[in-house]
């Protein structure tokens, strides 16, 4: 497919790999923010194309992973009600709540449906007037325009049997929380390209300046990620700390204005709890008062208290880039995609699932070049 296949070319990857080796003189730790990027890195073996000085750590950009367990319990309680059609992206269904998952509700006869777009859920509400259609609005800034539009459209059409359970989180406050941590060992970030198609990169400029870290807006294909690493390392090696854009074909500095306007009309910034990390101030979105009628938490009174996480799961530490998945004693034994202890083993964007799926169960020790990277001259 155009704009995908050409960014997976192994000869070009080898060339970028050589270029990164040529400019690297010291150890650098970079964090790729988005779980989609983590999967490309692990699936394509990109770490093997990097010099031993470069360490990639995997960031918190997996919305499924950071949705608090209390909210999943709430989703489960709403989904189990007989009048509800509960709609969600497929990823959320197997995520464990405190005692079961949405998939368990479905297996027990609950009307839980996987939809491709929140507009599909609005369509279901339009044609099922006697039912309550609830959409699990999980996601980062990339998904917020779609969820905002669904609510805006439902209000415009006067659809009363539609609501959303909001679990929206924002990237910049999470990056700041990571940088603020005393254990932080990140020298530079590969920012999440698709979040930036919506938001642009203006809000990253003060972060880059305040902590003196390079932030490179990066795409999702292997060549994008290698070029992103090269740009970040070039900054680090020359002592610069700026926001640069690797994902030039898709991202402009100002982002997508119409999308930002619709998000701002429907949502407002609010504190959010992140699973495994805790509450981060002003790190999420909630519906504005004008759209509160579409808030599933208000519409359905389901009492869910604070829930303890399984003590063995180190998801919070993995999500902050402090440990790799294979450093968890439960990894691949007591925790697998079939019987996950934590969300990062479930989601297609979770770091644990990526390491499990692509066979990276333990650190290989020395890094070896892939055949594609070995050819020179």
């Amino acid at each position: 497919m155009k704009f995908l296949d050409e960014y997976r070319d192994s000869t070009a990857a080898a060339q970028l790999s050589r270029s990164i080796r040529r400019i690297t003189t010291r150890p650098w730790t970079l964090m790729e923010v988005c779980g989609g990027q983590t999967h490309t890195i692990v699936k394509s073996g990109l770490e093997d194309l990097l010099p031993p000085e470069i360490t990639l750590v995997h960031g918190p950009g997996c919305p499924v992973c950071v949705t608090p367990v209390e909210l999943i319990d709430r989703a489960i309680a709403i989904a189990a009600r007989p009048e509800t059609i509960f709609c969600s992206f497929g990823d959320m269904l197997r995520v464990p709540g405190s005692s079961k998952s949405l998939l368990d509700v479905k297996a027990a006869g609950g009307d839980v449906r996987i939809v491709y777009s929140p507009l599909d859920a609005v369509r279901l509400a339009r044609t099922n007037l006697s039912r309550e259609v609830v959409f699990f609005a999980v996601g980062f800034e990339t998904t917020a325009p779609a969820n905002a539009m669904a609510v805006w459209q439902a209000e415009r059409e006067g659809i009363r049997n539609f609501s959303i359970l909001v679990a929206h989180v924002l990237v910049p406050p999470a990056m700041e929380a990571i940088l603020n941590s005393p254990n932080c060992r990140i020298h530079g970030f590969l920012a999440a390209g698709h979040v930036c198609t919506v938001m642009g990169w203006k809000e990253y400029e003060p972060i880059s300046q305040r902590w003196h870290v390079p932030i490179v807006v990066t795409g999702f294909e292997p060549l994008d990620l290698l070029e992103g690493v090269q740009m970040a390392v070039a900054q680090l090696e020359s002592g610069r700390a700026e926001v640069e854009n690797q994902y030039r074909r898709a991202v402009r500095r100002e982002g997508n204005r119409p999308a930002q306007e619709r998000i701002a009309e429907v949502f407002e910034v609010a504190p959010r709890k992140w699973r495994g990390i805790g509450e981060i101030p002003l790190s999420g979105l909630r519906l504005r008062a004008r759209y509160r009628a579409f808030d599933a938490e208000q519409r359905f009174e389901v009492g869910v208290g604070t829930v303890e996480e399984p003590s063995e799961c180190i998801a919070g530490i993995v999500l902050q880039g402090l440990k790799k998945p294979f450093e968890c004693p439960a990894f691949g034994t007591r925790c697998t995609p079939e019987t996950p202890l934590g969300a990062p083993m479930v989601s297609s964007e979770g770091a644990c699932a990526a390491y499990y799926l692509y066979g990276k169960r333990k650190h290989e020790g020395s890094k070896s070049e892939l055949p594609g990277a070995a050819a020179r001259g």
Binding site: E6, A12, Q15, C34, P145, A146, R262, R376
Partner: protein, 91 residues
């Protein structure tokens, strides 16, 4: 979840009444209905980046080629810098 896939706009239906601007987008032969309300500039033949049924950005075809131009320049530099290595294997 933040995955977005590029596809080619095949047709555009301007939003009328309560309808949203939308169109069919071709993803390597698979056609899907996509909301184009956030890309008012997208026209037939453009490539758009689509996430959960919404086009978020029109792919800039000129910018998309730049990485390959950089790579070509890099290769020329490499050839200038390492003439003695041509034909040799090196680890």
């Amino acid at each position: 979840m933040c995955l977005a896939v590029p596809g080619r706009v095949v047709n555009v239906v301007e939003g009328e009444g309560l309808g949203l601007r939308c169109g069919k987008v071709d993803f390597g032969g698979v056609l899907k209905e996509v909301c184009l309300a956030y890309t008012p500039e997208a026209t037939v033949g453009d490539y758009v980046l689509v996430h959960v049924g919404f086009a978020l950005s029109v792919v800039d075809e000129t910018e998309a080629q730049k990485i390959f131009e950089v790579l070509r320049e890099m290769q020329q530099l490499e050839e200038l810098e390492t003439p003695s290595e041509i034909g040799e294997s090196s680890a």
